[in-house]
Amino acid sequence: MTRRFLLGPGFGRALWMTPLWGAIGFGIVVLCRWGGGWHPLLLSEPLILVAGLVAAPVGFLGGIGAFDYWTNYVLGKPTPEHEDHSGHGAKSWKDYFRVNTDHKVIGVQYLVTTMIFFIIGGMLAMLIRAQLAKPQSTYFGPHTYNALFSVHASLMIFLFIIPAFAGLANFVVPLMLGAADMAFPRLNALSFWLLPIAGLMMLSSFFVGAFAGGWTGYAPLNSTHEGIGAIFFNQGVQWAGASSIMTALNFLVTIITMRAPGMTFWRMPLLVWANFTTSLLVVVATPFIAGSQFFSMFDHVMHTAFFTPVGGGYPLGYQHIFWFYSHPAVYIMMLPGFGIMSEVIAVFSRKPVFGYRLMALSLMAIVVLGFSVWAHHMFTSGMSSWLRVPMMITTLLIAVPTGIKIFSWLATIWGGKLHLKTPMLFALGFLSMFVIGGLSGVMLGAVPIDQHVTDTYFIVAHIHYVLFGGSVFTIFAGIYYWFPKMTGRMYDERLGKLHFWLTFVGFNLTFFPMHILGTEGMARRIAYYPSRFAGLNMFISLASFGLGASVLVFLYNMITSWRFGEIAPANPWRAMTLEWLVSSPPPTFNFDEIPQVVGSPYEYGVVGAQHAILAPSRAPELEEVPV
């Protein structure tokens, strides 16, 4: 028993493999430094970097068993799990705490993990607002304050929004395609297990003097003037980025090669389209942030001079590389939500998605245009001034495909039969909030306006309208919508609605006034501010605590419904896409027989229309459940 615990894949083995690999990394650095004639132990940065941030996580991954199959295969040992599927599916809750190759288990692992980071990130936000309730608070010193907003943003972006979408898509996309799993299940498991590493790295930086250069980590501040916490950020981003790239490759191959017979590209649900386009963005863009963080880290640890002018470096180079990823990243955080919206709005309006092909094409247009707008984050950065006008034009143009999507959703709702269940409420909330975020985005796209409001609270308001009013609302919509499919139980509708209204009101009270603070000239990222901004800031802080409390309703609803909720039928929403044609939760290999796709996924109101046919004897009875 003990022997299996210590040598079999799992946390027991990780417990000793993590420090062992850490020690090996430590030893390598000491040897290299000793051999090179330096004092082997004097400089802590390279030791912590290599031992703690590179080698130990590899040991952890090996310990829990993420590499077992590949290692055995390479060594010529038997790999029984390939035949007996022992690493696949969940029979008890314990199966969620091991390396599991079932996309449905991984989807749930992703969602639970990201929710934990969402809650931690939210608590950091509460601390930020506590400090800002008064102009000259002394709750936190300037370094701690800078660290709070830096870690808050990094967790929310890299450990919540991006991977939460990956989690939802992990669960849903193979089902929607009529596939048994993702194309590379073991790679899928590995990409999940990289996430907790990235998250713990960003959080544990608090113990060594957290990184405080903002989530943008601008050089040379973050590369040479900050403490050791900065390399925790550099390296945390690498693990999260690697996870995203692997997942995106997996989605691309799955979507291209594993569609059920009859599932042409023009019959794919828009959620699949959305994840296809998102994955294209991730695969092309994410290596750029990896590069920017490596160079920044080399400047810090090895005293190269990529971004420091002393030595010939170019500080704006960092920003160009960083934003070449981080602007597409905005769409990486938006497009999957667009996909969720199309599903939810069509189902709860009982109408086909209006202008399906244009909806798919506008996603592609956003992907292409999305790569040509990065320098709008740099209008006042000191970059070549001629670059401003072309970047302004592309930035404003990207409003056109986004507008097409908004108007098409409105047209989908128009004349439908609206059922205002919780996912639909979040969808309508998203439509109205994202329009505000989009319009303030158009304002920021106009260079003269940006010159005034950039780096003020107007930006803070804008990104929260886009990423909270946009992405987070769609994540909530998606979680409520697929909750019955994931857990086999219904969530509590009354609590869901209460959660929506608390979130909607709390969100607007918190973030709308920030627009005013910004245009009046309150800078972002400051721990102390002039007293003339005191009134609004106190108001915002109080509202933000209310917004924070609304998450408790959500958590209570999720936990109790998962355990005690009403048993969910196969298709509680009377939806047409494939995931609703199998039981809730779906069988381990999704479909007993490969479904045959015969039509569009959104033929609501068309008599006799079907999206797909399952073998008649195996199809579950389609219960008539009032929606």
Binding site: P142, G382, I393, V400, I413, I436, P448, R525
Partner: protein, 238 residues
């Protein structure tokens, strides 16, 4: 569409637009403008805000009207009409935003080129930033330095900005324009102050521990008073 629904839709749109307009007009959004560039930037600001209010009103009107009018009873299992699209509508809502953003781009481009144009008799001022203070120096007065920025009213000023360590930024909300100050580069900003007064001068790029407190003032003064001050500084340096 029935006549009644058009009236209802318009009504909701007008209410939404009215509320948004009130939100735009009642609080003080922008600080006083104290430079020629500021007036033009404010024009772009309100121009775009007007477009935004119109679009916002349309979206809210459709959502609110749909929720009121098209809500189905819980036991209503019917589907809506199977409308798949409408080419004319789709072209319209591609074309109208295209025209609007083009208009915004043109207006912005014109304002940008006007704001960047230097007047005759430009005063040059050097700005040096370092963690966590600004130093201003005046080449026309033997590089006399000052920790507070003093400028003459109604004269075009060109700032040549350098940083000794990390990236900082020049931000005076009343002037509207800002620009980063980047180590290894000389960045430029062009402003013509046109209102006498004292305004905050803020570092607006996160620059480390003291960032929140890296502030000074800009004092815009009458031409004569400025020249007198400058002459005193020059005398002080030589």
């Amino acid at each position: 569409m029935r006549r009644g629904s058009i009236v209802a839709l318009l009504g909701i749109g007008l209410v939404a637009g009215g509320v948004a307009t009130a939100v735009a007009l009642i609080p003080t959004w922008l600080p006083v403008d104290a430079s020629r560039q500021a007036g033009r930037i404010d024009f772009v600001f309100w121009f775009v805000i007007a477009i935004c209010i119109a679009l916002f009103a349309v979206v809210v009107a459709v959502i609110v009207y749909s929720v009121l009018r098209f809500r189905a009873a819980p036991d209503d299992l019917e589907d809506g009409p199977p409308v798949h699209g409408h080419t004319g509508l789709e072209i319209t809502w591609t074309a109208i935003p295209f025209v609007l953003v083009t208009a915004i781009a043109i207006v912005s481009g014109i304002v940008l080129s006007q704001n960047d144009a230097q007047g005759a008799d430009t005063l040059r001022v050097n700005v040096q930033a370092q963690q966590f203070e600004f130093t201003f120096s005046y080449p026309s007065a033997g590089n006399a330095t000052s920790p507070v920025l003093r400028l003459p009213v109604n004269r075009s000023v060109e700032f040549d900005m350098r940083s000794l360590d990390v990236i900082h930024a020049f931000f005076v909300p009343q002037f509207r324009e800002q620009e980063d100050i980047v180590p290894g580069l000389v960045t430029h900003l062009h402003i013509t102050p046109d209102r006498i007064g004292t305004y905050p001068f803020i570092c607006n790029e996160l620059c480390g521990l003291g960032h929140s407190l890296m502030r000074t003032e800009v004092i815009v003064m009458p031409d004569k008073a400025f020249n007198r001050w400058l002459a005193q500084q020059k005398a002080g340096t030589t």
